[in-house]
């Protein structure tokens, strides 16, 4: 299985994911991003924050190709697997 890196962007802040994780393909990447974003949004709401729609995951493959930009707003608006 290929390894994907979920870099994280919050406005000007960018945090690199050096570890990455093994996933079967782009569908699994999107599912993981969706579930993780839902989790982070839920945590934020429980902490008294507004919905963190400005955040996003920028997901790269091992060859450093950008495979998906996943704005957290997607997770706020669309259904997905349970985190």
């Amino acid at each position: 299985m290929p390894r994907y890196f979920f870099h994280y962007r919050d406005g000007d802040r960018f945090k690199e994911d050096y570890e990455g994780e093994l996933l079967s393909g782009i569908a699994a990447v999107e599912e993981t991003a969706m579930a993780s974003a839902k989790e982070i949004i839920a945590e934020g709401l429980l902490g008294g924050n507004p919905v963190l729609t400005g955040y996003s995951y920028e997901i790269h493959d091992e060859a450093r190709n950008l495979v998906l930009v996943f704005p957290f707003s997607e997770a706020a608006e669309k259904p997905g697997v349970r985190p």
Partner: protein
């Protein structure tokens, strides 16, 4: 004449055994490496060995079928695996595996049972550790239900730091995800929050604690209490 020597060990439990109990245990102890991900106990399976950790971190992890894993106990040089044996059970309910490589002294489960039956003081002493671990687990239940992600992360970083020499932690995000009960990409987000507050620095697989007291404040009572209970039950660490 053979004289047991507690000072040979970094493990806090072995260091505190009475001379008589150490004399019973010591001949059976075998030093072993603990490579990353080594299984120390398997889920719903008989316990084969008990490990007194010298360094590194073992993690007791609960699983829901088809679900994700959650850590329910953390063990370093202050403790041991095999709590179930001390309580009279012969098998482990959960998995326990190495999350940070290290070393241990191990004892076959049968040998532990045998020395427990030969000593009146060994079981009461080890039960005090099992109680300390139980208290740690109860706080983990509390924070998992009530604390925010960054508060839980602060607590676990402090708990790992207590079990590691120096202020640099080489723990994987995969492990932190299990500790925090979130998907792995969320760990990057949580680390970023603590970094933004100046409490840590996270770099290529390494986390540096910059402000321990700040982390304790952020953990909001979820840290310190179980650690105080360990000191009450067992003693000061180190």
């Amino acid at each position: 004449m053979y004289k047991p020597n507690n000072k040979r060990y970094k493990n806090e439990l072995l260091r505190r055994l009475s001379q008589e109990d150490l004399a019973l245990v010591e001949p059976e102890l075998v030093r072993c490496e603990l490579p990353l991900r080594m299984m120390l106990e398997n889920r719903n399976a008989p316990i084969e060995f008990v490990y007194f950790l010298e360094d590194g971190i073992g993690s007791i992890v609960a699983k829901i079928p088809m679900g994700r894993d959650t850590e329910v106990g953390l063990i370093g040089f202050e403790g041991m695996t095999g709590g179930a044996l001390v309580l009279g059970d012969d098998q482990s309910t959960h998995e326990c595996f190495v999350q940070l490589a290290g070393e241990a002294h191990r004892l076959p489960a049968d040998q532990l049972r045998s020395v427990l039956s030969q000593s009146e003081t060994l079981r009461p002493f080890l039960l005090r550790y099992v109680q300390a671990l139980f208290i740690q687990t109860s706080y983990t239940a509390l924070v998992n239900a009530r604390s925010k992600l960054e508060e839980r992360l602060a607590r676990w970083l402090l708990m790992c730091d207590d079990r590691v020499v120096g202020d640099r932690l080489t723990i994987t995000h995969e492990f932190l995800a299990i500790m925090l009960g979130v998907r792995r990409p969320g760990v990057t987000v949580a680390l970023q929050i603590l970094e933004g507050k100046g409490l840590i620095r996270a770099n290529r697989g390494e986390i540096i604690l910059r402000d321990r007291n700040g982390l304790i404040d952020l953990a909001d009572g979820a840290y310190s209490e179980p650690e105080g209970e360990y000191r009450r039950l067992i003693g000061e660490i180190g």
